[in-house]
């Protein structure tokens, strides 16, 4: 049996405490009024800091901002500076009628726009981290389901690790669900289509309102999360019962439940990604999006399995896990990283090549305003893991797995950052107390829940009919 070391437990509590402090700070320091924003912008101009070039341009500033936002952040812009007035103000401006007045209007709108972006920022940071850690545990659960359904012989010695990671799904999903409910209750504005004023002026969102509406959105979320959690609890129960069984009944039940779960998953995962991620940009759409999101959290889930396995092995647990098992996990990290890149490239290249304005705006925003995270993510999620994990011997070295794993997890966090932030905070992004605090909070919670579950059952699924194959696994 595993015992949760007090050092690790303290560490997880410290992470949670630091996270709460960071998140609290980010909410407290978010601007409350337009005047606050004016001060921030003035300070930026004075210091020539972030976005200085952008805002320095004096009177051109209004036009620049609006030209920019109309193309890049039309959803975010719509949140308060409704399009009708925008066009009106600009028409006035160009007609030369009452120049000063128009400029003042625009300035005011811009300030409000930035205010909303900055108010969205701590919420978005919290949401991204909550979603990311929940999806890591869902990714591990999916991997577990695939192992069961495929009757894989190499992996049963890792089942308890996978089951522990997926135990985070319960608190993780509840937290995400609460955040979604808060969105529907208008507590935050991550989902712009939930804002009735915006919808009233937006024909495209109106056309989608049969699908994108609060109640239906929450019903879908409840069904999906309920289904995943049900499979997680059911398969865990059977896995534990199988330990002391005389026959393979519970194993067979898990086999059937896993196949059923995977069918449910392939449908719910796509819809989940449209709902919780794609709809933050409610005008944009991509048929590949669901599978792209899946590849991102699937590789993250596998990486989490590898990291925790390496940690436990280092502490002297998991006696039957040998370098061949580690090697296989590293191969999956390598392979799914390439698969993720393949889907990333397919989505990016097809939109870039066709150059249809409604579509390509998504990548234009990201390349212009998120250049470093956008391309940095490719280095972290593709170049680095592929170059380092292609070597056979490296795939058996713990420190290489840990290093590559940390880069992969950070890289996929940035992937989710890039999916959400451009729609909610536009070009006002930076990695601050809110972002770091949210990651620390959920990392602490994740460690606490996962390692607590590890203590609850023996680390070997000893009566799994394939366990001997897994123990003898060597090549």
């Amino acid at each position: 049996m595993y015992t949760f070391s007090s050092r690790l437990k303290t560490f997880s509590f410290v992470l949670i405490a630091l996270g709460i402090l960071g998140i609290g700070y980010s909410f407290l320091t978010a601007p409350k009024t337009v005047e606050d924003v004016e001060k921030i912008l003035a300070a930026e101009n004075a210091h020539g800091g972030h976005g200085a070039a952008h805002h320095d341009a004096g009177n051109a500033h209004g036009e620049d901002a609006h030209g920019h936002h109309a193309v890049s952040h039309d959803e975010a812009a719509a949140s308060h500076a409704n399009h009708g007035n925008d066009a009106h103000a600009e028409a006035d401006h160009h007609a030369g009628a009452d120049d000063a007045h128009a400029a003042h209007d625009e300035h005011q709108e811009h300030l409000e726009h930035v205010l909303h972006q900055l108010q969205n920022k701590p919420w978005s940071a919290l949401y991204i981290a909550a979603l990311f850690f929940m999806l890591i545990s869902l990714g591990a659960l999916t991997f577990y389901a695939i192992q069961n359904a495929a009757q894989a012989g190499w992996s049963p010695v890792l089942f308890r690790v996978m089951e522990s990671i997926s135990s985070y799904l319960v608190p993780g999903a509840i937290i995400v669900f609460i955040l979604l409910v808060l969105g529907v209750l208008d507590m935050h504005h991550i989902f712009i289509w939930m804002d009735e004023d915006v919808v009233a002026h937006d024909h495209l969102i109106q056309a989608k309102s049969g699908y994108l509406n609060g109640p239906f959105f929450l019903i879908r979320a409840a069904i999906f999360m309920g289904g995943w959690i049900w499979y997680r609890q059911y398969s865990r129960k059977n896995s534990l019962l199988q330990d002391d069984a005389n026959d393979n009944t519970h194993y067979k039940k898990n086999f059937k439940a896993s196949a059923t779960f995977l069918v449910f998953f392939i449908i719910s995962e796509s819809i989940m990604s449209w709902d919780w991620i794609m709809s933050v940009d409610p005008h944009w759409y991509s048929t590949l999006f669901g599978w792209y999101v899946f590849a991102s959290f699937f590789v993250s889930g596998i990486t989490a399995i590898a990291l925790i396995t390496v940690y436990l092995k280092g502490k002297g647990y998991l006696e039957y896990v040998n370098t061949s098992h580690i090697h296989d996990l590293a191969k999956f990290m390598f392979g799914i990283s390439i698969f993720w890149t393949y889907l990333w490239f397919s989505q990016f290249m097809l939109m870039w090549y066709a150059d249809i304005p409604e579509e390509v705006v998504y990548f234009k925003t990201r390349i212009e305003d998120y250049n470093l995270p956008f391309f940095g993510m490719l280095a972290m999620n593709f170049l680095f893991p592929v170059l380092i994990l292609i070597n056979t011997d490296f795939k058996r070295l713990s420190w290489i797995i840990v290093m590559a794993g940390i880069v992969i997890l950070c890289g996929h966090y940035i992937d989710f950052f890039n999916m959400i932030m451009p729609a909610t905070v536009g070009d006002r992004w930076f990695i601050g107390a809110g972002e770091i605090g949210s990651v620390l909070l959920f990392l602490g919670l994740f460690i606490f829940v996962v390692f607590t579950t590890l203590t609850k059952a023996p680390l070997l699924a000893k009566r799994n009919p394939l366990i001997e194959e897994s123990k003898h696994f060597h090549y």
Binding site: D244, Y285, L288, Y342, Q347, L350, P465, H472, H474
Partner: protein, 474 residues
């Protein structure tokens, strides 16, 4: 390579009382024996279809592409449908030999040889459609990037059609090398058994002087892994690039980002269906039921069911996102697919590809040889119609309503397609009588772990052991 221990719940992959020598004899028998009547009947039919196709192609080349049903609005139809269909079928071979090798699936060993042969033969069929659509096939080498001084024109590297040329030629070469590498020890086996000097000579040339020494085997294993590593991205890349032919455009129904992975899934789907069609016949005709067992068919059926469900998921995604996009052209393209003049082909595609594989959830059906054979044919029909639906329904309602039209294949179109089916079977039938159709060297490597014979022996030896062990557990 893989572990030598196998859990008792695994079913044997080689059934019956087979020893190592039996494998050799069983695999060599179709090559060494004489062809029976059924073989000659099948060969004659295939040859006739092939010759009919040759005639139609000759007519096309002599008269021009006007003999086809393609028109000004639907400039791409029958030819590209057949091209994509054949390329797709080829995918299963590489998937079985490369991806299943990396996943250490022992059951691939009975079927990889024929699946790879099928890959190569179907890629040959596929390549003919674009070549003859060029109109002047003797200038086909112009698709290669040859300097202008040579007389051709420099190629357009921005065109996915050119990427296709590279992707498919790479794929064909790597598949051929992979296939032949695996064949070397088996050709050597035929060489060593040959009784006439002529056959001995032929098979010793084909086996590249294989000696069977430890060094040979070590190199063989290494090169297999390297080729598997190379071929795995190729499985994804080929149909991805085929999908780019459509998806890079701005045509509603073609331009959709899910197309690359969904084409790959569809290709594996149709490829496995074709492997099932071929092997269900071959195991019977060549008496290989002990190696290509019902379990093999069942596993292929499961892959058909999974890939069919993935394809179905992609169909529904496309439909939903077309509505969600709010783009009326996009919405019309999909409405027209389902309810327009080609509604019947859409219905065929949906029922054959999405509904029919779902019956495989029933164990009785997926282990029934007859049902598997029927479903495999149904899936191949469905996958042909999938390409037809994507290509023709998106084109036949173009941007100018006055040019809206229908596509009507001519007898030349039909003849060309039937000809490729004939050619494919001519090649496959010749292969089945001159090549070792099962990778016997590889099958022998799993004899001890996975054959019924050895499993029984092990049980007898350790029967008491296991019993006391399980008692001990509680």
């Amino acid at each position: 390579m893989s572990s030598h221990y196998e859990a008792p719940i695994r079913k044997p992959l080689i059934i019956g009382d087979k020893n190592y020598h039996d494998v050799t004899v069983d695999v060599a028998r179709p090559v060494e024996g004489r062809a029976n009547r059924q073989w000659w009947i099948a060969f004659s039919i295939a040859l006739a279809a092939f010759l009919w196709g040759v005639g139609c192609v000759a007519y096309t080349v002599g008269t021009g592409i006007g003999t086809w049903g393609s028109n000004k609005t639907v400039g791409w139809a029958w030819d590209i449908t057949n091209f994509v269909w054949w390329v797709g079928i080829g995918h299963a071979g590489t998937l079985i030999s490369a991806v299943l090798l990396l996943f250490r699936q022992k059951w691939r060993m009975a079927i990889n040889r024929s699946a790879e042969a099928m890959t190569i033969f179907s890629v040959i069929q596929a390549a003919m459609f674009p070549v003859f659509h060029m109109g002047r096939p003797w200038l086909a080498y112009w698709v290669m990037p040859i300097p202008n001084q040579f007389g051709s024109l420099w190629v357009n590297f921005n065109s996915p059609l050119l990427w296709d040329v590279f992707a498919i030629s790479t794929y064909l070469s790597v598949s051929l090398v992979f296939w032949w590498t695996g064949l070397l020890p088996d050709f050597a086996m035929l060489r060593d058994r040959a009784i006439t000097p002529f056959t001995k000579r032929v098979y010793s040339i084909l086996s590249f002087g294989w000696s069977g020494r430890a060094k040979d085997w070590q190199r063989f294993e290494e090169v297999s892994l390297v080729l598997a590593g190379l071929a795995t991205p190729l499985v994804l890349s080929v149909h991805t690039i085929v999908s780019f032919d459509f998806a890079t455009s701005v045509i509603p129904g073609w331009h959709t980002t899910i197309l690359p992975p969904y084409f790959v899934a569809g290709a594996i789907f149709s490829g496995f269906a074709m492997v099932n069609t071929l092997l269900i016949i071959m195991r019977k005709v060549s008496h290989l039921e002990a190696y290509i067992t019902v379990q093999h068919i069942e596993l292929m059926n499961i892959i058909i069911m999974i890939t069919g469900s993935i394809v179905g998921c992609a169909y529904i995604t496309e439909l939903f996102i077309a509505w969600y996009s709010g783009v009326e052209y996009e919405q019309y393209a999909f409405l027209n697919r389902a309810t327009g003049p080609y509604w019947w082909s859409y219905l065929l595609m949906m029922t054959c590809n999405v509904v029919s594989p779902q019956v495989m959830w029933v164990k009785k059906i997926r282990t029934s040889i007859m049902a598997s054979f029927i479903i495999s044919i149904v899936v191949n029909i469905g996958m042909w119609f999938e390409r037809f639906v994507i290509i023709v329904t998106s084109l036949h309602r173009d941007y100018l309503p006055s040019s809206w039209t229908m596509f009507q294949p001519t007898f030349v179109d039909a003849g060309f397609f039937i000809g490729t089916i004939g050619f494919f079977f001519v090649l496959f039938l010749l292969y089945s009588r001159s090549f070792p159709v099962i990778a016997q060297a590889e099958v022998k490597s799993i004899m001890k772990t996975s054959s019924e014979n050895y499993k029984k022996k092990r049980e007898q030896e350790h029967g008491n052991d296991n019993h006391s062990h399980s008692e001990h557990n509680h």
